[in-house]
Subunit: 208 residues, 2 copies
DNA sequence: CGCATCATACCGACCAGTCGGTATGTATCC
DNA sequence: GGATACATACCGACTGGTCGGTATGATGCG
């Protein structure tokens, strides 16, 4: 009892993340997820009333996992916001190890695949992506202030997320090394943005 | 007669691109594609021996469409390689109009979704992505030479593709405007890269 | 007992792929 | 020309398997 809201339930959520990151949402069979979690369908439908319901809960679960994973990552120990931002990129680059499903983004995969077929699910995943992006904003703002450049923190944080998602796709397409090079470019962009005191850079461009 | 290799076949290929960009590969039913093409399943299996076979042919078709689409795009009229490169980014940004399935990338969608489940299909799509990226290399090299900076054209071209893919995901997640901002960042990166004559920038970083 | 947590067995819809058939050429030989 | 023979293109009913979901029962715990 207890184990805080049933152990099987979180095992199902973890299994969902794994299988969906491997095969995508549509191709992820309920039986696959059950097998991964060491359950049968009867047990599954005791915890979730449908596959979509499970996916929604898994999106929440993914968001929480990502949050704690990056909150407790070693690069957070750095003092300088700018260095911490670069270290974030380096850390994400270092995650490109092993099989694609180990570094793939659950949220990005689902947004890509299920945007039109499962709008609510896609939106839930979009929220986790945005929440994660938001964790970068404070450092971006602080770094910009410290270095005398102006930057739209929200826009830049989202761009970083976009670049990360793109790097993951490239890693799938051309191997982890190709994805890693994208992170190098992203780092260089940040370096150039924050290392030009002679001229203010506006990262946001509203329509005139 | 004939319409050169059967009109229905290309209609099926076009329908495949449309439906897959909407719903993803797994969720795209053969019947959906047939309905979109104005055929029945009997006719479909006369032209292709399986859904996977169709997808492979559609990947080729996508590659050809992309090639001619960008070859004949207005921005190609520009003379300066650097301006043409920036115009490419602006052009891609301008494509973020209408519904997501109108600007989504068939190849990117499939690489993301089918990397582990359909390796050959994923590789075919990866090839079209790489081929498209390669079309930027000449301009990158020329622009770098003209401006006295050193750049790994292949790496930068791939990064641009990655950034584009990421922008498309962000557009799905947060609306077209969010994707557009990513293209602004990408443009700024190129501007900063190519506008620093005082210092050589290395865009490629091999492990030591 | 009563409730929660599962397993087993099964249903029904859906869907990729098959198959028999038709309609329209088209090539060939008389 | 026209009759035979064959190819191409397509239809639509059907099948066999898959998969989300259900029904029911077993087990254990308080």
């Amino acid at each position: 009892m207890n184990q805080s809201k049933s152990d099987s339930r979180t095992r199902l959520l973890d299994a969902t993340l794994k299988v969906v990151r491997q095969k995508g949402y549509c191709a992820a069979r309920v039986d696959d997820i059950c097998a991964e979690a060491g359950l049968t369908k009867g047990g599954f439908f005791h915890h979730f009333k449908s596959k979509d319901d499970l996916a929604l809960a898994a999106a929440e679960h993914w968001g929480e996992q990502v949050t704690t994973f990056f909150e407790t990552a070693p690069f957070q120990a750095l003092d300088d916001p700018y260095e911490r931002l670069l270290a974030y990129v380096a850390f994400r680059k270092s995650l490109l190890e092993g099989e694609p499903h180990e570094y793939a983004c659950f949220a990005g995969t689902i947004v890509q695949e299920a945007h039109e077929t499962h709008p609510t699910l896609s939106e839930a995943c979009a929220r986790t992506m945005n929440a994660h992006a938001q964790t970068l904003e404070a450092d971006i703002e602080a770094a910009a202030r410290a270095r005398g450049v102006s930057a739209d923190a929200r826009s830049l944080a989202l761009h970083i997320q976009g670049a990360v998602q793109g790097a993951l796709i490239l890693a799938k397409a051309n191997g982890a090394a190709a994805g890693a090079e994208c992170f190098d470019h992203l780092r260089r962009y940040l370096e150039l943005l924050f290392a030009s005191p002679q001229q203010k850079h506006r990262t946001k461009r509203k329509r005139s």
